[in-house]
C-alpha cells in the first residue's frame, strides 16, 4: 500500500519535471552556444579568404579556406619575437615562482616552527595593503630592472595567495606522522622537504605551476609598465599593438609576397593571431581543467 502510494506520486511528477528539464536544458544549451559561437566564428574567419571575411560571408564555417592569415602571423617579425619572449617568460617565470612558493610555504606549514605566526602576518598583510603602482615602479626603476627581463620575473616572484594554497595542502594533505617518523629516524628539516614532502605534493605543485604559467602567458600589465624595448616585449603586448590598432602597418612582414593584392589581410592576421596566441592554453585546457578546479577548491579551505 505504502509503496503503491509512493509509486503513484512518483508517476505524477514527471510532467512538471519534464517542463523543468526542458527549460533548463534549453537555457544551458543556449548559453553554451553563446560561449561557443564567437570562438568558432573566429577560428573559421582565421581560415577564410580575407575578402570574404571583410564582406561578411563567413558566419559559421570557413569560406574559401586558406592559410594566408597564418602565413602572415608567422612571417610577422614582432609576433615571432613576442612568441619567443613569452615562452621564455613563462618557463623562467614559472620556475622561479614555484621554487620561491615552495621555499616559503614549507616552513610556514610546520606547526613546530617558532614565530610562524609573525612571518605569516608579514605575508598576509601584503594582501590587504601595498604601496601601489608608482612606488613599486620607482623601486624597480632604482634597481635598474626597467627594460630588462628581470622586471617581469622578480617583482612578481611569488603570489601570496598561491603560497597559502600550497601551505594549506602541506598542512592538510600530508600526514604529520610522516614528519614525526622521519624526525625519529634523524632526518633533517631540509631532507624531509626534499625526500618526503615534495614527492607527495605533485598535485599542488601542478596546480600552482599551471596557475603561474597561465598568468605569465596572459600577462600584459607588467610589460606595459616596465618593458619599452621592442625586442623584449612579450606576446600580449605585441598582440595589443596589432589587435587594437585601427590599421596594421604591413611593412612588418618579412615575406613581401604576402602584400601583393591581399585585400583584407589585416583582418585575417588579427583573427589568426587571436587563434595562435590562445591555442597553447586552449590545447592544454582539457588536461589542466581538473587541476585548476582542484586549485579553486584548495584555495577555499583555510589551513
Amino acid at each position: 500500500m505504502q509503496s503503491q502510494k509512493a509509486e503513484k506520486r512518483k508517476i505524477k511528477n514527471p510532467t512538471e519535471d519534464k517542463i523543468l528539464y526542458f527549460v533548463v536544458y534549453t537555457i544551458l544549451f543556449l548559453f553554451t552556444l553563446c560561449v561557443l559561437y564567437p570562438i568558432i566564428f573566429i577560428i573559421s574567419a582565421s581560415f577564410s579568404d580575407g575578402q570574404e571575411v571583410q564582406l561578411g560571408h563567413v558566419l559559421l564555417l570557413p569560406v574559401k579556406p586558406t592559410l594566408a592569415g597564418y602565413r602572415a602571423v608567422f612571417s610577422h617579425k614582432n609576433v615571432l619575437i613576442g612568441f619567443r619572449n613569452t615562452f621564455f617568460y613563462t618557463f623562467a617565470g614559472t620556475a622561479i615562482n614555484v621554487a620561491v612558493t615552495l621555499l616559503c610555504a614549507y616552513p610556514l606549514s610546520r606547526r613546530d616552527m617558532p614565530f610562524k605566526g609573525f612571518f605569516m602576518f608579514l605575508f598576509v598583510f601584503t594582501m590587504f595593503f601595498g604601496g601601489g603602482l608608482i612606488p613599486t615602479y620607482l623601486l624597480v626603476n632604482s634597481l635598474h630592472m626597467v627594460n630588462t627581463v628581470w622586471a617581469l620575473l622578480i617583482p612578481g616572484a611569488m603570489s601570496v595567495y598561491n603560497m597559502i594554497i600550497t601551505r594549506t595542502f602541506f598542512m592538510n594533505s600530508v600526514p604529520v606522522e610522516l614528519l614525526e617518523a622521519s624526525q625519529i629516524d634523524g632526518c633533517s628539516d631540509a631532507r624531509y622537504f626534499i625526500s618526503v614532502l615534495l614527492p607527495l605534493s605533485q598535485a599542488v605543485i601542478s596546480v600552482i605551476s599551471l596557475y603561474y604559467a597561465v598568468g605569465h602567458w596572459n600577462s600584459y600589465f607588467s610589460a606595459l609598465i616596465y618593458i619599452r624595448r621592442s625586442e623584449l616585449q612579450p606576446l600580449q603586448l605585441i598582440l595589443r599593438n596589432i589587435l587594437l590598432a585601427t590599421r596594421v602597418s604591413l611593412n612588418e612582414f618579412e615575406d613581401p609576397d604576402l602584400l601583393e593584392g591581399k585585400i583584407g589581410l589585416e583582418y585575417l592576421l588579427k583573427y589568426a593571431l587571436i587563434v595562435v596566441s590562445s591555442a597553447p592554453i586552449i590545447a592544454l585546457y582539457p588536461f589542466v581543467q581538473k587541476f585548476f578546479m582542484k586549485g579553486v577548491m584548495l584555495g577555499s579551505v583555510k589551513g
Binding site: V100, P107, G130, I134, L139, I154, A190, F221, Y285
Partner: protein, 318 residues
C-alpha cells in the same frame, strides 16, 4: 610568584632553543622574506612620495614635504567623482549581474542528469576563463566592428540594409560591454565553487523528497538552494570587499577618448597621470593610488571580519 617567573623564562628560552634547532626552516625563508621586504615593504615606505613633491633628482627622501596637497587636488578635481563613480559602477554592476547568474547557472548544471552532457556544458563554459584580456578585447573589437565585424554583418543580413551604430566608439555601451563580456568569460568558471557545495548534498535527501512527492523544482528550492546559501553569502561578502579595486587591464584596453567618461577608473587614472603621459605627476598619482589602496584595505578587513564571524573562522585569513 617566583615559580611563575621561572616558568615564564623557561618557556622563553625554550622558544629560542626550538628556533635554533629549527634553523634550517629559517634558512628556507631567507629568499622569500628578502623578496617580500624588497618588493612589498619597500614600496610601502616609498608611498611617502604621496606627501612630498617628488623630484627624480632629489630622490624619495630628499624631495620636499607638501602634506596633503596632492590629496586635496584630487578630491577637488572633477576626476575624483568620475574615477570613483566609474570604479564603483563597473564593480557593482558586474557583482549584481554575476552573483545571481552564477548561482542560477550552478543550480541548472546540477539538474542535468546525463553526466557526459553536464561535462560538456562545464568544459565549454569554463574555457573562456583562460583567454587573456588582450585577446578578449581584441575579439570584442573584431566582432563588434560595424563594417567588417560579425555584428555589422548579422545586422545587415537580418535587421536593416545599413551599417549599425558603432557601439565601440560610444560612451554608454562601454559599461554593458565591459560587464557582459566579463559574464561571457567567467560565468562558467564562477560556478565551480557552488558546484562543489552542491556535490556535498546527501543523495538520500533528494530520494526522500522524491518519495514524498516533491518535484525537481521543489527540490531545487528546498534542498539545493539552502545548501548554497552559506557559500553564496560568503562569496557575496568577499566580492563586495573588492568594490573599489577594478582591474586595470580590461578598462584600459577598452578605453578610447569617447568612452573615457565611463571607462576612466581609478587604476587607469593612476597609470595615466603617473606613468603613461609625457609629463608624469608621480607624487599626485601615488596619492590617488594610496587613497584607493587604503579604502581597499579597509573594505577587505571589514569583509574578512564579517565572513570570519559568519563561518566561525573558516573563511577568514586572520
Amino acid at each position: 610568584m617566583t615559580g611563575k617567573a621561572t616558568l615564564a623564562t623557561r618557556k622563553k628560552t625554550s622558544v629560542w632553543k626550538l628556533a635554533r634547532r629549527r634553523w634550517q626552516l629559517y634558512l628556507f625563508m631567507v629568499i622569500p622574506v628578502t623578496w617580500l621586504i624588497i618588493f612589498h615593504y619597500v614600496p610601502m615606505v616609498g608611498v611617502q612620495i604621496a606627501f612630498r613633491n617628488f623630484m627624480p633628482r632629489k630622490g624619495i627622501w630628499g624631495s620636499d614635504w607638501v602634506g596633503l596637497t596632492h590629496f586635496k587636488t584630487f578630491f577637488n578635481s572633477f576626476y575624483f567623482a568620475r574615477t570613483v563613480g566609474n570604479t564603483v559602477r563597473l564593480s557593482l554592476y558586474y557583482l549584481l549581474a554575476n552573483f545571481p547568474l552564477s548561482i542560477t547557472f550552478a543550480l541548472m548544471l546540477n539538474i542535468v542528469v546525463n553526466k557526459k552532457l553536464k561535462k560538456a556544458f562545464q568544459t565549454i563554459t569554463y574555457m573562456p576563463h583562460f583567454i587573456s584580456t588582450v585577446v578578449l578585447v581584441g575579439m570584442l573589437t573584431q566582432i563588434l566592428n560595424p563594417v567588417t565585424g560579425l555584428y555589422g554583418n548579422l545586422y545587415r543580413r537580418f535587421i536593416a540594409d545599413t551599417y549599425p551604430a558603432d557601439i565601440l566608439s560610444r560612451a554608454t555601451p562601454f559599461v554593458h560591454l565591459y560587464v557582459w563580456s566579463g559574464i561571457w568569460q567567467n560565468l562558467g568558471w564562477n560556478t565551480i565553487i557552488y558546484m562543489a557545495a552542491l556535490s556535498g548534498v546527501d543523495p538520500e535527501l533528494h530520494e526522500a523528497a522524491e518519495i514524498d512527492g516533491a518535484t525537481r523544482l521543489k527540490r531545487v528550492i528546498h534542498i539545493d538552494l539552502p545548501v548554497l546559501l552559506p557559500t553564496a553569502s560568503i562569496m557575496l561578502i568577499l566580492n563586495s570587499g573588492s568594490i573599489m579595486s577594478v582591474g586595470f587591464e580590461k578598462a584600459y584596453l577598452m578605453q578610447n577618448s569617447v568612452n573615457a567618461v565611463y571607462s576612466e577608473i581609478i587604476a587607469t587614472y593612476v597609470y595615466k597621470t603617473g606613468l603613461g603621459g609625457t609629463t608624469n605627476q608621480l607624487s599626485y598619482a601615488a596619492a590617488v593610488g594610496l587613497f584607493n589602496n587604503v579604502i581597499n584595505g579597509i573594505l577587505l578587513l571589514i569583509v574578512n571580519g564579517v565572513s570570519g564571524k559568519l563561518s566561525g573562522g573558516q573563511n577568514s585569513l586572520f
